[in-house]
């Protein structure tokens, strides 16, 4: 009995705590920071419509909408526009800091919290993009993502480092050494993504259009979503049916088959195709892009490191 228990514990420890490089999460950090800056900038385009006392959904109504849940935001009490402009300005700056990896240890939790407050204020205007960006921003806090491709990494090389350097400095500018916290953050993103797809797939399985193969057509002709004409799909109903069924199969079984080495490349390729299609044809460029970014988490950091090393070698030779 002891052997299986030990094996399970070893497997658990290996899965959650075996240190890994932060390369993959650093890529995700860059994309998430850029998207957060864009999201906050877009709120600013009609800030008085979105926030403040005279917003389309005013502070009082937001409070009422959340009276039966545990969401809370300090923005429910902010009425004057200059404060809101300042808030958004700081949020954009922090998002840029996250993107370029400047003081990432501070920028990461702060931009997550400010965006969380905005999300609780903007009920009624949110969609999948906010869910995925918040998910990534939350988990990025855990890992030393500023250790790669960042201003922090550059500063870290400039500052004298070593056993004698201050603990705070070592925490602020982490080394590129593999870390268990990176593994935990990566695993959480992976499992969270599996939960999203699993329930997305189950939801589709309840709809007859995903079974009779017309879902792709009816998604394509939702004019309010459409950004490029997809009505030609109706001339190829066999293709529409196959695409509908592949989407449901892929979404439902993602949580199992993404972990298998043999099926992972195919599932990632379908993820790029599905979300790329949503970005190009259904007008949700931001959402489609961020879902592709989230899928990057299944790419091993060692693979990314090897690719970069190979490129460097090639450029040295030439």
């Amino acid at each position: 009995m002891r052997v299986p228990v030990n094996r399970i514990l070893d497997g658990w420890n290996d899965f959650w705590f075996r240190p890994r490089s932060a390369s993959t999460l650093a890529l995700i950090r860059i994309a998430t920071g850029a998207m957060l800056a864009y999201v906050h900038a877009v709120w600013c385009l009609r800030l008085s419509d979105f926030m403040g006392h005279h917003a389309l959904i005013d502070n009082e109504h937001i409070r009422r909408l959340h009276q039966n849940d545990f969401a809370w935001s300090y923005l429910w009490d902010v009425r004057d526009m200059p404060t809101l402009w300042l808030h958004q300005g700081i949020a954009i700056l922090l998002a840029i800091c996250l993107c370029i990896g400047f003081l990432t240890r501070f920028a990461s939790p702060m931009i997550w919290f400010m965006t969380l407050m905005v999300c609780h204020r903007m009920t009624g205007f949110l969609f999948g993009l906010d869910q995925v960006v918040m998910m990534l921003a939350m988990y990025l806090i855990l890992a030393p993502t500023g250790s790669r491709w960042s201003v922090d990494a550059w500063l870290s090389r400039r500052l004298a480092r070593g056993e004698n350097s201050m603990k705070l400095l070592r925490w602020l500018f982490p080394s590129t050494e593999p870390s268990s916290m990176t593994t935990i953050a990566s695993r959480l993103i992976q499992i969270h993504l599996c939960i999203v797809y699993l329930f997305g797939g189950i939801a589709k399985l309840r709809g007859e259009m995903w079974w009779d193969g017309t879902a792709m057509w009816f998604s394509a002709v939702a004019y309010e979503y459409q950004s490029l004409d997809l009505t030609w799909l109706g001339r190829y109903s066999l293709m529409g049916a196959i695409l509908s069924h592949v989407t449901v199969f892929w979404e439902t079984f993602y949580c199992v088959l993404i972990w298998q080495r043999w099926s992972r490349p195919y599932f990632l390729a379908i993820a790029v195709a599905v979300h790329g299609g949503i970005a190009l044809f259904l007008g949700m460029i931001t959402f489609g892009m961020m879902m592709i970014v989230a899928n990057l988490v299944f790419i091993e950091p060692e693979w990314i490191d090897r690719m970069i090393a190979r490129r460097r070698l090639q450029s040295h030779k030439t």
Binding site: V42, F70, A71, L129, S180, I195
Partner: protein
Amino acid sequence: MMGRNWRVFLSFAVVLHLLAVAAEPLRFFSASPVKFASEDARLLRMVTQRYSDFMYLSHGYSFFAPNPGPSHLLECEIAPNSNVDLAAEPPLDRPAFANSSRELSKKSSWRVFPDRRQDRPRLLYHRFFMLSEFYHTHFAPATLAEQSKLDTAIVEQWKQDRRMYEQLQKSILANLEGKHLNHEISLRRVEHALPSEYQIFVDRWKMTDPRLYLVLPEGDASASPERLLPP
């Protein structure tokens, strides 16, 4: 690798966190017309709700599901009060789907949420699209059907929903009235139905064909919508 105590603590933390992530979709999918959620899903949700609500984890994750459905727009008619100088009014800008079958005031201007021409970039457009869908989702009819009035639970729920809907309406109206002083503003929910392959390829309808737009009734929910143009 980190120390044993840390590993034990973090193991519990990640398990609890992931339960919170799964709790809301589980509750959402176990709900039925007669039950808020199954008992186990309700219990899990109850335990994790404070955390998942605050952390913005309470989502159903049902994109384009169970079926892709019609879109809902919010049409705002902005009509000048009688004492306003019409010559100074903004030019008439009727929504693309407005047509002669409805009595549209020539003095009115229009704001439709979302508006492809006006709401750019695309993310801004999508924010307003979500608002119009949110407005539609929160709709509660002005009156209840006679049969429903017999059930006190339904009546109580309806009263609450109706109050929330009216307050949402008031909030949107206040915002628009602040921009259009001395104007009377009215809101309408418009449903944009999805065309069939036959309508597009055989009948040659465009996706913006006025026949696909329905003004949804504000009164009794069982009332039939007003079609903008008879088919």
